[in-house]
């Protein structure tokens, strides 16, 4: 039966993470569904100059295997930082299954500005290539030359070339050459063939090959805990200290306190003597007033704008946010430091440091041992969004490697109260009141923010069926009050069939919420680490049937516990036509990711919880 879950808790996992830079030119494969394409051939020649700048020639042939792949590759956009590097397309064509080559015409190669380019960020340029007549089974073949003109870090070079075991690759070869003296590289390669260092003509040379004939079928919620994919890391940085110092050179003098900044800091902290509360006031102001332009760290360069400039413009990228917040805090004598982080990235720091692993910058306040991300507009002071949590950070300029805290069960909680009343014709009229805390509030605010009010009804029709009519009270989206509360009122005609006998699903609000987090598809086993957030979800439901209907059975009340998981469900027939249900799911994990071994240990209990959530209320 459609619309069985009458409690409305929208999936929060849909909140958008920040854009992540991809280190592997020429084409970013991030986000393209596995199995929709395969790499037929890849060639990557990187030549490092003594000053750390490099030239990189890349050729890639990708076969599209289904309509998703076709859609993803019929138009490819490459980005580059104008002034810092050049990007040329040496050749681009569609290779038809019968061997015919259809070249990309010049008017199908469009040079443009980056999607997020605004004054001050205009160095980000793009080339968009439209591959003609691309059908399933055809290949796109693209050869590019990227030449770095100015190294992002003077006299330093670093790169990470990463491959996925989930993507079929027939023939990939990476060649790296670097000066034999003057720029020693630390190199670590895993899961690659070759790589013995050689010397030719005054240069070091490494050649790696990669082949992946049988791609692993990753579960949708697989995450990379460490850097455990096949990859090559090469870096001239001797350690994180050197990397932190080099990054610091870009930030020097950018967080100076000007009279404008001092006066703003004074104004924001009037009447506040507690230093933590002062910091909160300044954080709140930056989060609310400086709009975030998500220029990815690394692509748009590593140099922020000066705090005073950011203040005057009222917008900036992550680096700009950090500089302004640092200047404001320092105007009140509160020291803070920039912290490089890989948002949505690995949970374990790489042994060999490369600044290009980091796509984001946040603020660290040592006095409160607190990490702040003011670009997360909807994150209240002290709440670090899921994409920043439980991840290594490098403090600039000291190079100290710290770790952001994992979100605890209390830091991500959802409490929902639902009442549903069925009339004699089977129409359901319901109210759902949700109260969310911490990261859950952040994610839900972000999610609701991107749904235009005009499309609200469509979102609910998807959830409840085409005939449903629903409205949402978004509550106070902007004030960052914790907990965040919102409510939904809905009406679903023909939700159930009367007279019975019949059945109504129960508790799918909880099920929806947990879907994809812990209780989703429940594969028989897992091959990789997977996302397993700590959280508290509880829900109280009341189902009210018309007097003519008698409830004959409710699911069994249960308490199920497993390592890191507690589930409680209690069902009660209060009178012949009213049912109340109370369910709680709490997960506590030391990290935001769990291992396949852990999954194997708890799977039997997870299956029992899933079965309980599928339980039905029977009536006649």
């Amino acid at each position: 039966m459609r619309g069985a879950g009458f409690a409305i808790v929208l999936l929060i996992s849909a909140a958008l993470p920040p854009q992540v830079a991809c280190a592997n030119p020429p084409i970013s494969l991030a986000g393209i569904p596995y199995g929709s394409f395969e790499i037929v051939r890849g060639r990557d020649d990187i030549d490092v100059n003594p000053d750390g700048s490099f030239a990189e020639a890349s050729e890639i042939a990708i076969r599209v295997l289904d309509s998703r792949g076709q859609k993803a590759f019929q138009q490819v956009t490459l980005g580059y930082s104008d002034g810092l590097e050049s990007l040329g397309v040496a050749s681009a064509y569609t290779l038809k299954r019968d061997g015919q080559k259809i070249p990309v015409a010049h008017d199908q190669m469009l040079r443009g500005f980056g999607a997020t380019s605004r004054p001050g960020f205009e160095d980000l340029k793009t080339v968009t290539i439209i591959f003609p007549q691309l059908e399933i089974g055809d290949q796109i073949v693209l050869t590019t030359l990227r030449r770095q003109i100015v190294p992002l870090f003077s006299d330093a070079f670093a790169t990470r070339e990463e491959f996925s075991r989930a993507i079929r690759a027939d023939d990939v070869q990476i060649t790296l050459t670097s000066p034999q003296s003057g720029l020693p590289l630390n190199i670590e390669a895993t899961g690659m063939e070759g790589g013995e260092p050689q010397q030719f003509a005054g240069k070091n040379r490494w050649v790696w090959r990669f082949q992946n004939e049988q791609p692993i079928d990753y579960a949708v919620d697989s995450v990379v805990a460490g850097n455990d994919q096949p990859q090559i890391v090469a870096s001239s940085f001797s350690g994180y200290e050197a990397m932190g110092k080099a990054s610091g050179e870009h930030f020097a003098g950018k967080a100076d306190v000007t009279p404008d900044i001092q006066s703003l800091a004074d104004q924001l902290t009037v009447g506040i003597s507690d230093r933590r509360q002062q910091a909160k006031a300044m954080y709140d102001w930056v989060a609310a007033h400086i709009s975030y332009v998500d220029v990815v760290l690394g692509v748009g360069g590593f140099t922020p704008h000066a705090a005073a400039e950011v203040l005057a413009r009222r917008y900036g990228d992550c680096k700009d946010h950090v500089m302004l917040l640092q200047a404001l805090l320092s105007a009140k004598g509160i020291a803070s430091k920039p912290a490089l982080i890989a948002a949505n990235g690995p949970y374990v720091a790489s042994k060999i440091p490369t600044p290009f692993d980091f796509n984001h910058l946040i603020t660290y306040v040592p006095e409160f041992q607190l990490f702040l991300d003011s670009t997360a507009h909807y994150a209240p002071f002290g709440v670090l969004p899921f994409f920043d949590a439980d991840r290594p950070v490098v403090i600039v300029p000291s190079g100290e490697v710290l770790h952001t805290p994992n979100i605890a069960a209390e830091g991500r909680s959802v409490r929902t109260v639902v009442t549903v009343k069925f009339d004699g014709e089977g129409t359901a009229e319901g109210e759902s009141h949700s109260s969310l805390s911490g990261d859950a509030a952040f994610a839900m605010r972000e999610f609701l923010d991107i749904i235009p009010p005009a499309q609200e009804k469509d979102v609910f029709r998807v959830a409840l069926g085409a005939a449903a009519d629903a409205s949402i009270d978004r509550g106070n989206l902007d004030s960052l009050v914790d907990p965040y509360s919102y409510s939904v009122h809905y009406r679903v005609p023909n939700a159930v069939m009367f007279p019975g006998p019949g059945a109504v699903g129960s508790g799918l609000a909880l099920g929806d919420f947990a879907n994809g987090l812990l209780l989703g598809p429940l594969p028989s086993s897992r091959l990789t680490t997977f996302a397993c957030p700590s959280q508290t979800i509880d829900e109280v439901d009341e189902y009210d049937f018309p007097p003519s209907v008698r409830v004959t059975s409710v699911p069994k009340s249960e308490d199920i516990t497993a390592e890191g998981v507690q589930f409680h469900a209690h069902y009660e027939i209060r009178n012949p036509h009213t049912v109340s249900a109370a369910r709680t799911l709490r997960t506590d994990h030391p990290h935001a990711w769990c291992t396949p071994e852990y999954y194997a240990r708890v799977r039997p209990e997870l299956a029992r919880i899933a079965a309980s959530l599928r339980g039905q209320i029977l009536y006649k």
């Binding site: 030549d47 040496a90 050869t143 030359l145 050459t177 030719f200 040379r205 050649v207």
Partner: protein
Amino acid sequence: MKPGSCRQKTFRAGCAPTILLMLIAAAANAETQSSTNPGAPNCVAAGSQRPEAANDHAIDSNNYPLLSWMNGEAGNVMLDFRINVDGTVDDVTVARSSGSARLDGAAVDAVNGHWRYKPVVFGGKPVACRYRAIVAWRIPLDPLQWAKFGYGVVQMHAPDYPPGVSSQTGGITAILMTIGVDGSMLDAKVVHSSGIPELDSAAMTALKNQRWPITPAKMQGTALKSVVGLLVVWSP
């Protein structure tokens, strides 16, 4: 885009005569230079003749280092290697560098473990010995470069092939023509062969039978002959 270029595997066979990087194995100086390794005899001295290749020693353009290709790097790499008793090749070193680490390294990679010779026989028994060969990296003809010099491009496909030439072969014939003021062809010569004489002459025949509607340039009122360059690209 490079029409008819050999970057694509499907063209590999057809392009062999013109576009493949020619390997001058057993070059003259291979015999005159003694081995750097005293542990094994020089193959030519041992076998009293040049070792004979037992497999294809051509290196196809797919192995041209991509960045070298784009940078226009070309050159010769002299390699010194061991031919084992079974004819396999290993212990490959660079005896004379091309000056490019990429070309040197790619030459070693192409030869090491891939080349085979017929076993070198000395005193009635196969022996291990050392030998030298030059790998010559040449940037193949790039129609785009020619186009920059004013060459037009004519594509020829399977139906245009002369009888007796497999349409699976391919190549580029570059022709320089002199066109009279009336549009007739006065002279034509092949300045770059496709490597297949039948294709070259078919290209010449096809062009000779054309009228060339070119508006001649004039000098002091007198019309001048025109010189036209054409690339005839044979691709199945």
